[in-house]
Symmetry: C3
Subunit: 421 residues, 3 copies
């Protein structure tokens, strides 16, 4: 594992035990840890604030929770894994027979050794999650249930990190930070986003990283940034960034946004999947709602709900690898390099080919049937630079890597044959 991969994996392991939810101290602690590596602006939005069609809910914090048997032994214990408690459970302390308790217990009968992840953000109830095998071993009888949680006015927490660019047009990178002990979903996404932010040097676009709870967090961010939303020209929702599967890019609602074309280009030639937009998944649902309709896609490895460990205790730090996170990072870097570099040019000598030879841009020995990629790239850039084709258009039509085309454009511009459209 590379240093970079190990650094990201270490962050996953460190964040893993924290009990995150859509509000509360787990999110604050997570952002504090991230903030050690990446300067963050943390926002607190009070309970009750109207955000688009929603309202910021009460803040939830939990200290302890268990189900104990007649002997007092904890048979389900929050201290072992925060997945054991249904997120946003209301406080409870009572005793009840197993028959009655069952209505509050969630298992995965088809995956009997895994603990599911469940929440009940907007309906006041309580519950426990446990392995089916654990449940099967419980004798009938009375049990003590205890959830030491508070649900009270407070705030919703999210954070931003901005890398200023040469222009104010923004690229948005959004990660959800509301899932408790699930490594791929979405600690790996957070870890990759951190390294991505650190790697950007004087980019063309301004890059805005948003670390926010899913749905309500993205909605809150959108509500508070509605007046400047047109600055967001491109974006990626980053999730499930560390499993061993290949990459999946889910297109924006527009389907042909520049970010969609860039990821299709960058992923071509390696195992990957391109998916059409659907209004289900992560926060692309919000960014791509029809009122905003942003050019925001979603990058994952194995996608949303696409692996058996998804939203279970099986999604632990061993499920993600440093290599996979490095690979996700590299593709993002490559894609953003294309987004930053892509533009259209105008050929200043558009009548016939300009004589590249006397400018030192063309082989002097004629008759050979091969042509170097570099020369082909120059011919393609010259031929298509009529102000309507961007370098990515050229690369796709020529079947050449974007980098070769961009290098050709640089050489032609330096020779005075090309100007920006």
């Amino acid at each position: 594992m590379t240093d970079l991969g190990e650094r990201m994996h270490a962050l996953v392991r460190r964040l893993y035990p924290l009990c995150r939810s859509i509000t509360g101290d787990g999110v604050r602690e997570t952002l504090a840890v991230v903030g050690e590596q990446l300067p963050l602006t943390v926002h607190e939005v009070p309970t009750g604030t109207r955000v688009l069609d929603w309202t910021v809910p009460r803040e939830w914090n939990i200290r302890d929770a268990y189900v104990a048997d007649a002997t007092g032994r904890r048979v389900v214990d929050f201290r072992e894994s925060n997945l054991h408690v249904v997120g946003y459970s209301v406080p409870v302390h009572t005793r009840m027979p197993l028959t009655e308790l069952r209505r509050h217990l969630h298992t995965l009968p088809d995956q009997p050794d895994l603990v599911p992840y469940r929440t009940s953000y907007y309906a006041p109830t309580w519950g426990f999650c446990l392995a089916q095998s654990t449940l099967d071993a419980l004798p009938d009888g009375e049990y003590e249930v205890f959830i030491d949680a508070t649900l009270a006015d407070g705030s919703l927490t999210y954070a931003e990190h901005v890398v200023p660019g040469q222009v104010e047009d923004e690229v948005l990178v959004s990660c959800h930070v509301c899932h408790p002990s699930l490594a791929n979903d979405n600690l790996a996404g957070i870890a990759v986003a951190v390294q991505l932010a650190l790697s950007l040097e004087n980019p063309y676009h301004t890059y805005r990283f948003v670390f926010a709870p899913g749905t309500i967090g993205a909605i809150t961010w959108l509500a508070r940034n509605r007046g400047r939303i047109e600055r967001v020209r491109h974006g990626v929702v980053l999730a499930c960034a560390g499993d061993r599967g290949s990459l999946t890019y889910k297109q924006s609602r527009r389907g042909d946004a520049p970010v969609d074309r860039v990821f299709r280009h960058v992923l071509a030639g390696r195992p990957h999947e391109i998916r059409a937009f659907s209004p289900y998944g992560y926060d692309e649902r919000q960014y791509c709602s029809p009122g905003f309709d942003l050019g925001v896609g979603s990058l994952t490895r194995t996608p949303y709900a696409g692996y058996p460990e998804y939203h279970t205790s099986g999604d632990d730090p061993d499920f993600v690898t440093g290599e996979s996170m490095v690979d996700t990072l590299r593709v993002l870097q490559e894609a953003f390099a294309v987004l930053d570099r892509d533009r259209a040019y105008v050929n200043l000598s558009p009548y016939g080919e300009p004589q590249l030879g006397r400018r030192g841009l063309y082989d002097s020995l004629g008759g050979r049937s091969d042509a170097h990629d570099a020369q082909l790239a120059m011919l393609w850039v010259l031929n298509l630079s009529d102000g309507t084709h961007s370098l990515l258009d050229v690369a796709e039509r020529a079947g050449l890597p974007f980098g070769a085309v961009a290098t050709a454009a640089d050489a032609l511009r330096d020779a005075g044959l090309l100007k920006e459209a």
Copy 2:
């Protein structure tokens, strides 16, 4: 066979013996029988009337016809099957040797036991149709030929049945009624049209059923309805509706008319064929002529000229089944339900997703990786309802049944989240 299927098959059997042509009493008798089940407005258009580029021809009626051998035995007999006489034959009564008679005899050498169907509407001649095997058995010698027909001023007959809708925009269902004893072409189409008309209850569109002779009948209807033709928003020419083959939908000239999209959607997932428009076949030729260019497709089972029994004595009542006619009917009903229900909506809460949970439209338990179709359909309707996508657009892009999408739209409209575009 269901009652419905048996009812349609009984109508086919009852209509089968009548000697229809493009004019004459056979058409009138046919419409009288149909009129027992479905109220019809019958139109009579006098011979000589100019209809578009055509003129209503003289009316043809036939009482008897035969070829008899030297002994007086009828070797070809109209009383056995009206297919034996070329439609619109002029009267004749003479004797001639077989060698001369042969010029007036039509057979199918490749299907020696079947009698072909032939007409000569616009060239004054006469002829007989018979099996090749019959012809082969005829000894040389002289024969008596007799056709007791009249060709005289009269009228062309067609009928309409209208089911008033909530709007004046019309859906046209057109059947040709000019073929004599051919069951699939087009008694089955007539029988299905009758049951379809009877099944419509307070539809959104106004449905107009036209029972008219092919070509000249459709042209006559178009000529007499030219001033109101723009009311015809959608339409289907219905033919060959009862054979055992799977369904074929032939698209309108426009190819992307709503009716084309609806039939493609409704037929998806079952054995079927979609054909491009061609200016050959049934009366879609007229409705889709460039001056009208209506959104009218054609629904058949095995298409025009696509089965060996086509236009032969093999197309008898045994060639069609009640099950097939019921199946054709069901698809038409489903397609018209979509046509009637399809429209575009505007999401009234387009910035982010509206909070469905507090409106009772969303599961309160989060974390599960599956989503009910009903919830997916709501998310799709919300996401695409920007006034430009109809529910059919939503269904096709979502890969969901139209009904699920329409139900979601109803629920969202009732919750105040959607209005008609």
Copy 3:
């Protein structure tokens, strides 16, 4: 071999020994031979003339050249093949050891018995081409090198032949004439162009044949015809027209120019390849530069650099056949017939089908399930003649040969049912 094929092959053989380059007497002699068969207007453009971004170079002429061994034996001899000298070599007469000479020798190590074709138009150097096997047999030691060439002010030579048409809109046929002893590339193209020009009789378009050196010749022609370039509506660069491979059409930059659609139509149903435009190959590079963007494609048999003999001594007269050249010619003639005949019509009786029968254009015997192509073609022309579809559009949508559609249009126009759009 047909007379026509033999005539073309004879021209290839006669032109083969001449030492052509981008300027010089070899080109003049070639054009003089062509001019015996086809009247040519020969243009001489002085050295130093600015043509677009280029300058007409000095004229190159060569009389003799060799490499001789210590005994005076010519081991590489221009008199054997003009391929032995790098085109545009500067004069040289000196002695040098083989080790030093090697830097001026070009071979094909992978095709050891073939002599490559090499040029150095724009960098002043000299060199020899020889078989690798010849080189391998040369003992070390000193060699005499001698190139009796002149590089001096003069002119660039190209020629035109024009077949006047009914309209001034032009079809351009362009052949490069700068390659020395290479038969397929491009003596076969020249031979086919000659016969094509001779075969045109009173065409609709004006046909302009340009015989010019590659790149600089096309650029010179473009520079001198820039003011009237908009007359060139269609065009073909003709090269590699005689090898035994099947035909390849490379589309214009526009990809959907009429000439592209015509060649796709004409080549359909026979072995062929359609290639997308690329800014590499023959003079379509110049005609399709973005400032001109002409509807000019390129027709070859095996395409540019697509055969092992390409640009080697293997491309000799035995490599091309009369049959292949005749086949290329026929396809060009068919394509130009379509280009000349294609136009859009307006159906003057667009409401319903006009009654073809009374105009003698339709079979009077009805009921048959087949329709003649001629009748189908008339129905298609009538149906699509709304002023926006050309006959080629009709042919493609109908799946009928262009000729059948054009014949139908003639008949309908003669019957007063159609007029030109």
